[in-house]
Chain length 259, copies 4
């Protein structure tokens, strides 16, 4: 009776070849393209109360229990009319976010390779697309304790970025291998993880692991809800409680009104 998490993988079709044909394209134009595409994707997924992550930019993810295949077809249509590229989509559901993206990855791979000229705007949903009720989602929102005082306002920006990346990678690797969680950097000193239902000790272990491996001290607010947005919003409020009280790990103690 697995609680199901639904995830989507959006992959630009034949992007690598396109970036160098007929000549390598200007890097800043590509950066601008990728960032704009993700900005649109985040807005699109936000409309459905999901969470979006930029991944590798040419492979972006969403955890979006409310988003249907038709919704993703709308996104494909929108990209086709707004960008010089098209996107294929794989959707999957499983008991963990990483497993759900694994299903999505396999389906998309079965529909054709990322640089396969014959694949365009694939919608890989499997034989029996998921339907019916989904379980609730847990979101853990991490940030670095006193990042401004200890890092941003004192160190070379290059080194601060490397430290945060190191902490992110340690955390993401740990949560993925131990719990099938999906953790992603979301800007500043923030890392958001979508997780299965874990007990608080698991987060304590994760935070300790990151401190030991990288010397970076994290705090985390945890929320749960029917959608990634609802869970994440509760997590943000819980993280505010960490900041106010100095506790490192705080669960949601209220269900915030939707906004």
């Amino acid at each position: 009776m697995s609680r199901e998490i639904r995830a989507g993988l959006v992959q630009i079709d034949e992007y690598g070849p396109w970036t160098v044909s007929p000549e390598p394209r200007r890097e800043t134009d590509l950066q601008s393209l990728q960032a704009s595409l993700f900005a649109d994707f985040a807005a699109f997924i936000g409309e459905r109360d999901g969470y979006a992550f930029y991944g590798r930019f040419d492979n972006m993810y969403a955890v979006a229990n409310e988003a249907t295949p038709d919704d993703f077809r709308r996104f494909q249509r929108r990209v086709r009319t707004r960008y010089p590229v098209t996107v294929s989509v794989g959707l999957g559901a499983a008991s963990t976010p990483a497993a759900a993206l694994g299903v999505a990855s396999e389906r998309l791979q079965a529909a054709g390779g990322a640089q396969d000229g014959g694949r365009s705007e694939a919608m890989a949903v499997g034989d029996a697309p998921e339907s019916g009720d989904t379980g609730s989602v847990t979101v853990a929102h991490f940030d670095v304790v006193d990042v401004t005082g200890e890092h941003t306002d004192r160190r070379n920006a290059v080194d601060v970025t490397l430290s945060i990346r190191r902490a992110t990678l340690a955390l993401a690797t740990h949560l993925r291998s131990e719990h099938g969680g999906l953790a992603h950097f979301v800007g500043g000193d923030n890392v958001i993880a979508v997780c299965p239902d874990l007990d608080p000790a698991a987060y304590e272990t994760a935070v300790d692991h990151v401190a030991t491996e990288t010397g970076i001290e994290l705090q985390v607010g945890i929320g749960r809800g029917a959608t990634a947005h609802a869970a994440g919003d509760a997590a943000k409020h819980a993280l505010e409680r960490c900041r106010e009280t100095g506790t490192r790990i705080h669960g949601a103690d209220r269900v915030p009104a939707d906004h």
Copy 2:
């Protein structure tokens, strides 16, 4: 006789507090905001033939020998009129990109903290702003050998991302500590490093280091030019030669026409 590299650090003013006031803002809106701001920054720096990196999104970098303080003031003005936030800027020059960003960081910190309510749109250029000729720039453009066949088309997208992040971090840490280089993930399987003038063996060592640490095999094209764009464009062409010939490290063998 130092060849000077000029770098800019752009930091959103009081961003952390803003993201949670009066309540935590919707995550997907923040993701969309940050990505749009970087899309504009990349376009802006691209206009000046520099290279832009998203850093932590609230702290973005540019290597842009041609960009003047007045150019960055234009960017500040543009942000103020297009976004709900403002940005401060630190500029620095030094013989390596990391050192130049270190100077920029110090100047910006001296102008006020990132969450200091009294700092808004600071332009921290030091007492004697850099002027006159700059040296040339080296750009090394790395990617993963056969990323599509070995990774994208075979593995869970979550794990591919983690692998690429691991390789990026190993490379960036190595280049930063050994050579004062600035390496940054730029999407897909691409990492771009702005470096001082190094001999080819240094790149070979870096690539070997990454393979040993992470199991990821990189190839690299290297270019040199008066601007990051010129150097980077040469590097892209050199990387194409790697792809065609199977060599792992390729220097620019031609100066591409500007485009």
Copy 3:
């Protein structure tokens, strides 16, 4: 028994004063801001199968039977987090689009003036917000017969624009005064009108009126549907039939599948 059309008016709060404080802002930045805001609004309304019009840019409209007050609150929230301005919204329903926007205008005016410092993010929906079933919507999609051959490829672009504006104004004035319709320029040589249910002779009269007043010959496809998108899509297909067959006025002869 009135078939109800629902319309929304989105107005930037205190925009005029903001554009000149503390000094007049750079015109191209304002142009860029307004166009981006409309691009987002169009995408937002498109998500709800409505049609959006840029109006005066600081006052934008939508005909969107499916959009609820909560949807527009989402748009307000999104603007607040993505732009340096906020927006107020008036919603109205009536038997014609112009009357619906009249109701929306009155409600918004009652909530405070456009330059009233005390009004921010008003949501003016009246005492008893509209609910329940709405009627169907009629969209008429006009363009200029052989615009490329007769105008774009032969005349000064300035004069072509003036001609099309003249035709648009004549059409919009006629449809508004005669039928309570809302006609708006949508780019190129296209004008889209949202109308109550009219018989074909009314469109013939409108097209003749424009030809007499301005010398510009229009053709029009007409569609009907539960949403502006469905009606407009049918109208686009009907307009294609005009182009193929040389008829000036063509009603929808099929209900297109949603896409």
Copy 4:
């Protein structure tokens, strides 16, 4: 000894056919595309201290004395990498803005038709591209006297828009036919005209003409400078003086510092 004005015409290649192939594209996506393209164009021209106008969206204009053919080639390259369409460009210079756009139009037409499948990214600069010094530019910035009190806060938004469009069209037609000026709606109640050097009585005549034809009372600030931005900024300050003093026509009485 003509003072030369330089203008650019940017035209989307084969846009009409693209919007309906293979099926008519969703209207709100097209609206969003066009608005984004103009937002980028305005930013691009703003970088060069010019003024940009959306024209018909698929045909956009700029008055940009500082922009070179190479600059416009950069814009073409940027569009190609960011959008699903490409653009062709015609450039012209003449003693009036309308005449300059006439030259640009003819050159572009000579390079191929707007729906000619064989034309892609044309750069139509003529045999001897303009070079050397340009004259100064005059910008007249008009708005409606007490638009908020008389119109926005009192009338149906549909009718306010129609009134402003009517005033814009009357003004633009007059300035074009009498003086070769280029007037364009820029949002709200603002119309910007780029004009040759006229004496104040000409503006008084124009304002009277609009009042007689449409009942709309305009005021205008006039500025002059080496670039459209410099002239337009002076015009904005002059218009502020109209608002403060109640005069209807005000010339620039100071040269604003660049910002």
